[in-house]
């Protein structure tokens, strides 16, 4: 199926600003879904709150736009009740790592089969530009007018440390690589995290004098790399891909052993 058939066209154009990377990430996600010919009825897309989380409304699946930071526990309930469904979480850097940080690490620890795509624009866009746990040190935001002295999370390291069994990073500037990273995440059985670098020209870009969307994309292209020798650049690629018993499988086996397969 053409990936564009997974969109709810009557809900477009979307709310994202001109040049926002979120649409690029969403497109990469839908192409990965299309390649796997996932049946719309068998997919649940769960999101939290923020710019990225509006994505759930634009895709033609069973969609759940939840509370800030809570997409993963909502998705946990769906997945455990319907292990046969593909459950995908679309979230942002603030949603997933600040208010939802606790849920994120625990779902990773359980190795629950969710595909979590973190749209990382390094800022809270929906509330107009406050710093997030993934805003780089000494970058600017409306709540960091003198520079952000917090140090950010490295999402890849965070996911890895918490026990995620598939961890990748992609970028809007490398849509083909991003699509592949998401696709492998969809194929992986277990907790899969894909950080998707996304540009926010309206807030993050403006606050940090990064120029237009075009310039931000160019910055991404130049400062992130798919090379295995990234040097000082932000590495893109798959960083973790390991097998560990998946949570719904474990739950199922446990239920069978306790109930005698009743």
């Amino acid at each position: 199926m053409n990936y564009k058939n997974y969109l709810r066209w009557n809900k477009l154009p979307h709310i994202w600003c001109p040049g926002c990377g979120h649409g690029i990430v969403l497109g990469a996600f839908l192409r990965a879904v299309a390649q796997r010919e996932l049946n719309k009825d068998d997919v649940a897309v769960v999101s939290g709150i923020g710019c990225s989380s509006r994505a759930a409304g634009y895709v033609d699946f069973n969609t759940l736009h939840t509370a800030h930071g809570r997409a993963i526990p909502f998705a946990t309930g769906i997945k455990l009740s319907r292990p046969d469904m593909k459950v995908i979480v679309l979230t942002g850097d603030g949603d997933a790592t600040a208010i939802g940080g606790n849920h994120f690490i625990h779902a990773a620890r359980r190795n629950l089969d969710l595909t979590v795509i973190v749209f990382n624009n390094n800022i809270y866009g929906m509330t107009s530009g406050q710093f997030s746990p993934m805003t780089p040190h000494i970058n600017f935001a409306t709540t960091a007018p003198h520079g952000n002295f917090d140090y950010p999370f490295d999402l890849v390291e965070l996911a890895k440390g918490a026990g995620a069994t598939y961890v990748a990073r992609g970028a809007a500037a490398y849509p083909r690589q991003l699509e592949k990273a998401i696709g492998q995440g969809l194929d992986h059985e277990g907790f899969s995290v894909i950080e998707a670098m996304s540009q926010c020209p309206t807030y993050y870009g403006r606050k940090n004098k990064m120029g237009t969307a075009e310039q931000m994309l160019k910055w991404q292209k130049e400062n992130a790399t798919v090379s295995s020798n990234p040097g000082e650049k932000i590495p893109l690629g798959v960083f973790v891909q390991v097998e560990r018993p998946e949570y719904t499988k474990l739950t199922g086996q446990f239920i069978d052993s306790v109930s005698g397969g009743k």
Partner: protein
């Protein structure tokens, strides 16, 4: 049927299982922990899911997610956890996803008195989450009632597509009594959509004002959001839609209040004094009321089973009929008495409050009753 000696929290679990609960998510907290423990023991053996989440926020989120797939879902907690659940109780009320939330009340505020009873969460059960929202809350005063009302909580949540709070307290939760673990006569399951997936509008309702939400993954693809939404489920900022939705989700309960509200009344018709109570204080109240009647004192008792929606109609009618003095024993500084004052004049309400972690004793209540009938 032979009676069995069962703890209140265990009775809740037994009833939930008999009602068909298939998903429980929770987090340990005194004095509700036995519910999670028993669920962990019993659900897997029935082929059902128990999960211990990372906190109460996640527990509440998980049961809503599970319920959206059609699973009867439940969590259990106490005051501090109930505070954390408020966010997603609001979400369930807004998105009309049925769930049962058990709150075995302990003393507050904050961590308060974990092992002692309280009724300090009555208002939180009604207004704990922000915005005008519907909720149903039921309160047992015994282990048998805990068993009965746990069924009722599931039935009401499935029927009205609303979160239902089972407002227990530490006494009821930890007490052991002989009860009948009967099979429920009537199990209500949420309505299924009558339209085809193509014609389906998740939040379109008939005169009942209750939507028929299709379980996720059964061919009805739709959108669920905590934002104000129209019949399609998608967000809207239209003043008409905002007003329409907020009114409907509240009217959905108000309109059916007479069917929802249950209470027991004892000797109230000619009463000079009416005791009004719910939960564990009912036990002392009933004893005092019966003793007073034996002495010929015109004392009655109304035991509220449904705490929310509040039985204002019943109580204001009773007041008009009897002009009785209302005595309100409660384990809080007056949450019940204050609510009652909307339907009974303040000067006709005598408050018997206790917030030291002890029960209201029959002797304490008896003294107030005698003063009132004098």
């Amino acid at each position: 049927m032979a009676k069995q000696l069962v703890q209140g929290n265990e009775a809740c679990v037994e009833a939930a299982i008999a009602a068909g609960v298939s998903f429980f998510a929770g987090y340990p907290i005194t004095p509700s922990t036995e519910i999670a423990e028993k669920m962990a023991e019993k659900l897997p053996a029935k082929g059902k899911v128990f999960i211990q989440m990372e906190d109460e926020i996640a527990s509440m989120a998980a049961i809503i997610g599970a319920s959206l797939t059609g699973a009867k879902s439940m969590t259990a907690t106490s005051g501090p956890g109930f505070s954390l659940m408020q966010e997603n109780i609001g979400y369930a009320a807004m998105t009309e996803v049925p769930v049962v939330v058990v709150n075995v009340q302990r003393g507050g505020p904050s961590t308060g008195t974990p092992t002692l009873p309280s009724q300090g969460d009555m208002m939180q059960a009604r207004w704990g989450t922000h915005g005008d929202h519907p909720v149903i809350a039921l309160a047992p005063s015994s282990v048998q009632e805990t068993y009965d009302l746990t069924f009722e909580a599931f039935n009401l949540s499935e029927k009205y597509m609303v979160p239902v709070v089972l407002l227990m307290d530490e006494i009821v939760g930890h007490m052991r009594e002989g009860i009948e673990l009967y099979k429920p006569e009537k199990i209500i399951d949420r309505r299924k959509p009558v339209q085809s997936p193509e014609e389906y509008l998740p939040y379109q309702t008939d005169d009942s004002l209750i939507p028929a939400l299709a379980p996720f993954g059964q061919g009805y693809r739709y959108h669920v959001t905590g934002l104000i939404h129209d019949e399609t489920g998608f967000p809207s900022n239209s003043p008409k839609v905002i007003e329409g939705l907020v009114e409907r989700i509240n009217k959905k309960i108000d309109k059916h209040a007479d069917e929802i509200i249950t209470y027991n009344s004892f000797d109230v018709d000619d009463a000079d004094v009416v005791l009004l109570a719910y939960g564990s204080p009912v036990r002392s109240a009933r004893q005092v009321q019966q003793a007073a009647r034996q002495e010929g004192l015109k004392v009655g008792l109304v035991q509220m089973i449904t705490v929310w929606p509040f039985p204002h109609k019943v109580l204001s009618q009773l007041y008009r009929q009897t002009e009785a003095t209302f005595i309100v024993p409660e384990l809080s500084l007056g949450q019940l008495a204050d609510e009652l004052s909307k339907s009974v004049p303040r000067e006709k309400i005598l408050r018997v409050n206790r917030n030291d972690g002890s029960l209201i004793t029959p002797a304490q209540l008896d003294a107030v009753v005698r003063e009132a009938v004098r």
